[in-house]
Amino acid sequence: MKVRVNTFANLREYAPDGRSGFELALADGATVAELFAALRIPATVEAVMLVNGRRADAATRLNGGDEVTLFPPMEGG
């Protein structure tokens, strides 16, 4: 299956060519943790994870066509 991934700030460096908004092929039923592994994001890197605009975590299962957004935790404006 394919999912769409948006990464921001320091997490952008794990995007294939540094560009946010890319497609990623994963095994059917893959989790967010497996997406992290595919992008080689170390476990020590903190990220807020959203799937289709809703809060997710490492165990969240993905479906084809899902939009995954990753950004660092931040204190806000």
Binding site: N6, F8, A9, N10, R12, P42, T44, V45, E46, A47, V48, L50, N52, G53, R54, R55, T69, F71, P72, P73, M74, E75, G76, G77
Partner: protein
């Protein structure tokens, strides 16, 4: 005293008299400082029914015991007064270097009362203080005034000044310190203008004395080391991109206020985001006093119609002057931000007044002929022109100077002002951030995020993430966070560092690190529980002033768009803010009556009875 200077400066503008008086140690211990001192003296000395722009109102400028120390982000002060925009209390908070300088001059707080017949400024040179004529400064921008004042006092003096907007009593005029830092909200600058006080200039050469230097340094080193260790792996987004980066979170959750809160996503969001700001206009990051984060932005728009340089924009400005006005031109909104800084305006309420006007025009309730120019969503030139006109009260700017609530009422469409208690919302649509909706409605100053910013955990993962759409679990968290922010604002710290490093990293945010630093500085021997109770005392004291000023349960409200019009699209589609369901449980756990009045038992418990 340690941490505290033990001295307050009372400035009577009517009599032209300046005198220092001792800080009551009991008040220091029970209210800590900053926002706590603000509400203590406001309740003690100001009639809640007074005219905010009359001589009976007072301005309390107060630092905290950690302000001016080496504590991480010990840079803040709070300006407390009765707001001319809302009629409620306001306690507006700012960083930079002025607050630390105030402490180094040997003062915990200034109480400014009465009104001068002629423009004056206050010059505090260590222990000496005097009022000086300021007629030659009246009409000058904040930057011009800062230059002139340091020229005629001391090159290293720090200033807090009003611009033309404050002089002309624009109801959301700011007090600007260190040129570009703002005590921005609810018109503190208009109160200063009405008193004909152009500026406070301070020079301090002393150091803040510490009760237990070894304990203080140990705590300071521990929390700074925590910060260094964490940021080695996770570079802080606020340092790299400033608060402007926040729109990645609000857009992704579908709560980025757009076109006067008609939508929660903005198609032009990336063009006005933090990463674009870094790429196009960032000159350098600029920290406040003793801050390891450095979220401040020195920026320059190098060319084009909106050429200029200064500081900003912050996230709240990107929302208010950007998405909320449908503006996707980063140069235009940055230029409007520079004007707000130089003329002395709150960027949030400025943008919200223009956004409200744009919707009134769109819906046919306001004629462009009355505005004097075309006023359509996304018009960056109108944004810049109206900002200047508002500060100077020229043409339609005189109407905008009253803020969005008065504008909407004037057009017979009060429901189109996106405010609570008359204060414009921050950049989070409460339909998709339920806890923040409850906070907007119950914040003592009205629609501010900085009185308990639950967006940190509901949207941005700090200290741990929570679901922004649930409402049943939010009342206790909102109360806890409101009380925590009272503590942070009283101590003289910045919330950005405090919520990540100086509290326990769960949603109950016990202020362990704050307590350690306070004890090292003051020797007060607080427990974290005692500090939490002080936060609750401050919040309840503010509530009492609000009620005495005539506010009731019906003012703990949100506009009907937030509670009755479901979000039309995006991740928060179909949601409304469940305020009514949250309000009852919130009052109950606060120990308030069903009418939102602190019950006698609660007041007695907090020492407010």
């Amino acid at each position: 005293m340690h941490g505290w200077c033990g001295k307050i400066l009372r400035v009577d503008l009517s009599l032209g008299k300046v005198a220092s008086e001792p800080l009551d140690p009991h008040v220091a211990r029970e209210y800590i400082g900053g926002r706590g001192f603000g509400i203590y003296y406001l309740r003690k000395e100001v009639d809640p029914a007074c005219d905010p722009l009359g001589p009976a109102n007072k301005i309390i400028m107060a630092a905290g015991p950690l302000t001016g120390t080496a504590a991480p982000t010990g840079a803040r002060y709070v300006v407390t007064t009765k707001s001319p925009l809302t009629g409620a209390i306001t306690c507006s908070n700012s960083g930079g270097n002025f607050p630390a300088e105030l402490k180094k001059s040997g003062h915990d707080a200034l109480i400014i009362e009465g009104a001068s017949a002629q423009p004056v400024y206050l010059w505090i040179d260590g222990a000496r203080a005097e009022l000086r004529p300021a007629e030659h400064l009246w009409g000058k921008t904040t930057h011009e005034a800062d230059d002139a004042l340091r020229g005629e006092t001391h090159a290293k003096a720090k200033t807090a000044v009003i611009g033309p907007a404050g002089e002309k009593r624009v109801l959301f005029a700011a007090i600007m310190n260190d040129r570009d830092r703002a005590a921005g909200r609810a018109g503190v600058g208009a109160v200063m203008g009405a008193k004909k006080l152009k500026a406070v200039v301070v020079r301090g050469v002393g150091e803040v004395a510490l009760a237990d230097p070894a304990a203080f340094q140990a705590a300071n080193a521990k929390y700074r080391d925590d910060f260094k260790a964490k940021t080695r792996v996770n570079p802080p987004a606020l340092r790299t991109h400033g608060t402007a980066i926040t729109s990645v979170g609000t857009q992704a959750h579908g709560v980025f206020p757009t076109r006067n809160f008609q939508q929660g996503t903005f198609e032009g969001w990336e063009a006005i985001g933090g990463e674009e700001l870094t790429k196009k206009y960032l000159v350098r990051a600029k920290p406040c006093f003793s801050c390891p984060i450095a979220c401040g932005r020195v920026t320059r728009v190098p060319d084009g119609p909106f050429q200029g340089e200064g500081e900003g924009p912050e996230y709240e400005t990107i929302y208010s002057l950007g998405s909320n006005c449908g503006v996707d031109d980063l140069a235009a909104l940055t230029k409007a931000n520079y004007l707000c800084n130089e003329l002395g305006l709150d960027t949030i309420s400025m943008g919200c007044a223009i956004a409200c006007a744009m919707e009134l025009v769109e819906k046919g309730h306001l004629k462009e002929s009355e505005v004097g120019m075309p006023l359509r969503w996304g018009d960056g030139h109108a944004l810049v022109a109206l900002t200047r006109m508002t500060a100077l009260r020229e043409g339609f700017g005189d109407v905008l100077a009253g803020g969005s609530r008065r504008l909407a009422a004037r057009c017979g469409r009060s429901e189109l002002a996106m405010t609570s208690k008359g204060l414009d919302f921050a950049g989070y649509d409460p339909r998709g951030v339920q806890g923040l909706g409850l906070n907007y409605a119950t914040s003592p100053i009205g629609g501010s995020h900085m009185r308990g910013d639950t967006a940190y955990f509901e949207l941005l993962g700090v200290p741990v993430p929570a679901d922004p759409h649930t409402w049943e679990d939010k009342p206790p968290l909102v109360a806890k966070w409101q009380d925590l922010f009272c503590v942070i604002d009283a101590a003289g710290l910045c919330v950005f560092f405090s919520v990540r490093y100086l509290v326990e990293q769960n949603l109950m945010v016990k202020p362990v690190g704050i307590t350690e630093l306070l004890n090292g500085a003051t020797g007060a021997g607080y427990t974290p529980e005692e500090v939490e109770k002080i936060g609750e005392r401050i919040f309840n004291a503010e509530r009492l002033f609000l009620l005495a000023a005539g506010f009731t349960r019906k003012d703990d409200s949100l506009p009907p768009r937030m509670t009755r019009e479901p979000m039309p699209a995006g991740p928060a589609k179909g949601l409304v803010c469940r305020l009514e369901e949250m309000l009852g449980p919130y009052y109950q756990l606060r120990g308030w009556t069903p009418d939102g009045v602190p019950a006698d038992a609660k007041l007695k418990d907090l020492g407010l009875g």
